[in-house]
Symmetry: C2
Amino acid sequence: MKKTGTELTGVKEIARRANVSIGTVDRVIHNRKGVSEETKNKINAIIEEMDFRPNKMASLLASRKILNFAVLIPAVSDETDYWSYPLNGIKQAAEEIRQFGVIVQYYFYNLDSKSSFHTAAEEMLQNEPDAILMAPSFVEESIGFTQKIRELELPLVFINSDLPDQPGLSYIGPELYQSGKLAAQLTSFALQKPDKILTINIATGLENNHHLLRKEQGFKRFFEDSGLANEVITLNINDTKLDPTEKALLPALTAEPAIKAIFVTNSRVNVIAEILAKHKRTDILLVGYDFLKKNIDYLITGQITFLICQRPKEQGYLGVMALYKHLFKISEVEKSTYMPIDIITKENYMFYNG
Amino acid sequence: MKKTGTELTGVKEIARRANVSIGTVDRVIHNRKGVSEETKNKINAIIEEMDFRPNKMASLLASRKILNFAVLIPAVSDETDYWSYPLNGIKQAAEEIRQFGVIVQYYFYNLDSKSSFHTAAEEMLQNEPDAILMAPSFVEESIGFTQKIRELELPLVFINSDLPDQPGLSYIGPELYQSGKLAAQLTSFALQKPDKILTINIATGLENNHHLLRKEQGFKRFFEDSGLANEVITLNINDTKLDPTEKALLPALTAEPAIKAIFVTNSRVNVIAEILAKHKRTDILLVGYDFLKKNIDYLITGQITFLICQRPKEQGYLGVMALYKHLFKISEVEKSTYMPIDIITKENYMFYNG
DNA sequence: CTGAAAGCGCTTACAG
DNA sequence: CTGAAAGCGCTTACAG
């Protein structure tokens, strides 16, 4: 435990060298007006020469700033606890940067309701945040919204899904196509020559769920590239409940007895697992998405073999930290951070944190 | 961007309420002597009541402390770049906490040389660090060493491998047994009834490598529990070079033509891959450890199917952050953090960061 | 356009 | 055992 030396450093030293007061130095550092070009240049030269970096702690302390981070994400619903993971990551980050004067405020919207997105977004803007973390689940609505944010020049980070061509500060989330390919590779291990594969998209408003399609494309691409001859059949189910899903699934399985593997393109895989379990179809390999309680349960029974997961908790954590690092000039923020594509099985789920 | 209020807070408010000077408050906060029991109790009561938490930034600023973190880990060697990952994670963390007055100093030892560990450890102690992050690769030597550290009452975090019953602040690393079980599960997918499996331990000084044994145990346990009848054969190779390994491997494969899968208990899996590739044995499923350049190359060619990896970079990062969080009282530090057990394949390695 | 002073919430000698 | 003062490296009014 050593002490720093006693030579003049920082603004004082700059002021001394430039023969001005530290007030003027401060103005230059923060690009405030009211400094002559001449003094400004002189001071900037000295800053350059000293490789001066302001002491963030001192500045924070002196300015007594409170930064408000707004978080705009889907609410945790009864149907899926997926969003509890990003939320936990966000909360952990919030806890860690609280002492630096950052307050995180939450605005939740309902995934069933575009108007709830609007309401939450508007309320958020009312409160004049200094930075925004959002999951742009509704593409159209989010685009309109980000335009407002851009006018306000607020740093904006996307998690979970990206908004094409919207210039946010950063995107942190999955690359869907490749995760589909991975799912296909995992499926292929247990497959024999004549076996067929069923790909299932389950969602209300399937036409809006282009991200499911991306995964499906990646999945099919793997089989095309690999030269494996297994046929891939697609089943779209425009409903997330058990009964309609069962009514759609059973005929498909009866029609194609050669189906030995099912790939569900999202976290609803537990619904399929429930149906398969009910009908004692343990001969079918089931692969799906996300580290949800219900999914883990079927992983343990063996009805689901692989879950693919892209670190939702870490997405939330990194999202907040990206804003923090940007605003506090800790380090540069990556334009895109694609999360690793994790494979969860019966034998490693216990060490996965979501 | 709001400002904090102007009411008296912190030490000043405590001093006002207790009718003492802030100097005395400071003494109580830091448990320094020279305060009467009475004042002490009064102040402590107020601190309790206010739920007062010192402003770490102000205290850091005022004390101008520089904290030295010492890192004692194996050097990156020609043979394996494994340790470059923890090192990168450590550097990233170091960069992030530099502005809080933390300086990280590195002490590298050679995995082939216990004396190099001694030298590095001694040098480290000479420099009087305030906290220590270490990988206790040599168990005996590390135990002796941690006793000295305990006398100095320095916070100590272990990464990569644990030291049984040594009371460090925290352990961050893998749980080996379970990763062996996972390897077995992955192997089992592609296995037929009569197929046999070869488990290979490659290391010099195998008798010291109890961690390889742990993985092997987990691996075998999976097959016992699962009721799969596949025979598991073990091959120990007390050398890490290609030629001796080849001389040991080929006879084993000839003796047991039914071997259709090989599990290598550490990162030397690329050596086995090289031999198998040379002899065109693409029929054998190969599973091993660690996200090394050489291993990834064979993952891409398909000679290796699965790599198991336990986030070495994150271990380094979290290790430094654990010391930081402890010393700066950001949050409590977990006694043990077992890393997730990641599965790397040809289809997801590109998004893995090590 | 610039400077001098007060202050952020602490810590550190120093004096008594 | 306790207090008053100076200072950490900045920012913020205020005055000129």
